[in-house]
C-alpha cells in the first residue's frame, strides 16, 4: 500500500470503527504490533471497477464479539451477540470497503463488491499478513488489528 493510500485507509478505518461500533482505533508502526496468542478471524472481500483488489481485516475473535455487541446495542455475554459476531465483522468490513473506495477513487466510479467472507486466521498467516507491505496495523481498544488494502488500477492490469 503506498503511503498516501495507506493513510487514507487508516483514517477511514478509524472513522468507520468509531461511527459503526463506537470503538477507537489508532494506527501503530508494524514494529510495535504486539505479539499475541489470541485467536484471530480474517474477513475479506474483493472489489472490481476502475481499480480491482482486495480488502482484508484480521481481528482477535474476542474483538468480533465486542463489535457485535456495540453494533447491536447489547451486552457481550448475550447469546445473540456471540451468534452474530461473524456477521458483524463481515458487515464492518463491507462498510469500510465502501468508504475506502470512495476516499481513494472519488464518487464517480462504480465498483462491484463481493460478499465478505470470514475464516479463522492461524498465527503463521497472521505473521505473513503483518509482513505484507500493504498491511496497516492498529490498536483498537487494546486489540491488535491488521488491515490490508491491495489494489491495482485497471489500466495497469490491461497492459
Amino acid at each position: 500500500m503506498e503511503t498516501e493510500s495507506k493513510d487514507i485507509v487508516s483514517e477511514v478505518f478509524c472513522d468507520v470503527l468509531e461511527k459503526l461500533a463506537y470503538m477507537f482505533g489508532e494506527s501503530i508502526p508494524k514494529e510495535d504490533f504486539p505479539g499475541t496468542g489470541a485467536d484471530y478471524v480474517q474477513a475479506a472481500m474483493t472489489f472490481s471497477g476502475p481499480m480491482t483488489g482486495k480488502l482484508t481485516l484480521a481481528v482477535p475473535r474476542a474483538m468480533s464479539v465486542e463489535v457485535a455487541a456495540n453494533v447491536l446495542g447489547m451486552e457481550p455475554g448475550d447469546e445473540l451477540v456471540e451468534t452474530r459476531s461473524s456477521d458483524a465483522i463481515k458487515e464492518m468490513l463491507n462498510v469500510i470497503c465502501g468508504h475506502v473506495l470512495t476516499a481513494v477513487a472519488g464518487e464517480e466510479p462504480v465498483f462491484e463488491l463481493s460478499a465478505p467472507t470470514l475464516e479463522a486466521l492461524d498465527e503463521a498467516n497472521r505473521v505473513r499478513m503483518l509482513n505484507e507491505e500493504d498491511t496497516a496495523c492498529f490498536l483498537v481498544d487494546d486489540h491488535p488489528v491488521l488491515l490490508r488494502f491491495s489494489w491495482e488500477e485497471l489500466s495497469k492490469l490491461e497492459r
Binding site: A68, R84, D87, H99, L101, T102, L113, A115
Partner: protein, 129 residues
Amino acid sequence: MAFNILLVDDSATVRAVISKALQLAEVPINELHHAANGKEALDILDGHWIDLVFADINMPVMTGVEMVEKMCQDGLLKTVPVVIVSTEGSATRIDQLKDKGVRAYIRKPFTPELIREVVHNIMGVQNGN
C-alpha cells in the same frame, strides 16, 4: 398511522440495526418483515401490504437493484417506496438507482435521526402524527 415495513439485507445484523434505528427514531410500526435477498422480498411483497422497503444493494440470489427493477414492472409494487441502505458512495450509482425509482439513499453507517428524516420525507408523517 403505523407502517408495514420490509427490511431486505443478507446480513441479519444489519436488519437488526435498522430495526433498532426505526425504534429509536420512533417510527410507528405495525408489521416488520425481514428478507435476506430481493427474491425473498418479492415473495413477501406478493403476499403482504408493505408501506416502505429498506433494501441493501449487494445480496446473493437477487440484488437490491434487480428487486427494484422487478418492482417497477408491477403496476402495484412500483408505487411502494424503496430506500436503499448501502455502504456504496458512488454518486453515479446513486443517480442510477434514483432513475429506477428508488426514493432515497442512506449510506452506512447511519443514525436514527437520518432514518427518521427519510421516513418523514417519504411518508409525510412523523412520530405517528
